[in-house]
């Protein structure tokens, strides 16, 4: 028996099929979820994949946040269901206030696509337990609205509680405050990050690294061994 991981498709989502593939490669069952459906089809966890939902018009993630599927995701996340937001998914999570802060246009104003080195700062979340704290990984980064901002108090709080989950290494690619690449909620079930672990799961594809697979094996362990 394996666990079911829902992958949400909003209009304009791009990485849903890649994320489903990553979920399957890790040995989980991928369940497509449609933005108009409140029904989460009895999934055990949800990934909000990358893309440009609603074209990222207005603000990245701002319109998707109000979709029927998000009502259910927000409810279940609050009662502990693991949720991972990647890139646009992270933006949806901040717009939904499941995670604090906001994402803004990169400080250099360009879209940037590159192989990005990260440090896993918190290896105790639902999505990072297969990494070691302090482990360095490289996964693709690709966005134009990737600059993480929050007020000083929130940032201090995140740091103090160990909720900065990932930090950029070897150069901050977008002006994110305190080099933050991803964060977690206090319970560790909701995690968001800008880089794309689902694009680093096969040795032949993309950058040729598989450093992103750990996200999906982490959740497999959590759900199946729980």
């Amino acid at each position: 028996m394996t666990a079911r991981v829902g992958v949400v498709t909003f209009p304009g989502t791009l990485d849903d099929r890649d994320t489903q593939r990553a979920v399957r490669i890790a040995g989980l069952e991928a369940v497509p979820l449609w933005h108009r459906d409140k029904d989460l089809k009895q999934v055990d966890a949800v990934v909000l994949p990358g893309g440009f939902s609603y074209g990222d018009y207005l603000r990245a993630g701002a319109i998707s946040r109000f979709s029927p599927v998000m009502e259910s995701v927000i409810d279940r996340a609050k009662s502990g269901m693991p949720v991972l937001g990647i890139c646009n998914g992270f933006q949806v999570l901040t717009e939904s206030h499941l995670l604090p802060g906001a994402m803004l246009r990169n400080n250099h104003l360009h879209f940037i696509c590159r192989d990005q080195k990260l440090r896993v700062e918190n290896a105790d979340t639902a999505w990072t337990s297969d990494y070691e704290a302090g482990q360095e990984i490289s996964v693709p980064l690709k966005n134009i609205d990737g600059r993480y901002v929050a007020d000083e108090r929130t940032l201090d709080e995140l740091e103090a509680e160990g909720r900065v989950a990932f930090r950029y290494l070897d150069g901050n690619p977008n002006g994110s405050l305190r080099d933050i690449a991803g964060i977690t909620n206090a319970e560790g079930n909701v995690v968001g990050l800008m880089p794309h672990p689902e694009h680093a799961v096969e040795p032949l594809i993309g950058t040729g690294r598989t450093d992103g697979l750990g996200f999906f094996t982490s959740i497999l362990k959590k759900l199946v061994n729980a």
Binding site: L58, R59, A62, F66, T94, E95, P100, G101, A102, L104, R105, N106, N107, H108, L109, V149, A150, D151, G175
Partner: protein, 81 residues
């Protein structure tokens, strides 16, 4: 039909690279004397029916929950004359 304008600007403490890029380009284009530039968004809403207090209150709510992200942005609502 009446027009209501919602202006959304980044909060002053948030870095505005777009505004900065504009400001930095100005001297090169021969425009001096602009000390600062901030770039924001302007929404023009065509409102059906009367723009009374109730309507404005609703638009205010719309701006607060949707048009602006108040974590990073301030906004103003006004009827266009």
């Amino acid at each position: 039909m009446a027009r209501v304008v919602v202006d959304v600007m980044l909060k002053p403490e948030i870095l505005d690279p777009q505004g900065q890029a504009v400001q930095r380009a100005l001297p090169r284009l021969g425009f001096e004397g602009i000390a600062d530039v901030r770039q924001g968004k302007r929404f023009e809403l065509e409102v059906e029916g009367p723009v009374d207090e109730a309507a404005l209150a609703r638009i205010h709510e719309m701006a607060e929950t949707f048009l602006a992200n108040t974590v990073i942005e301030d906004f103003t609502v006004r009827v266009d004359s």
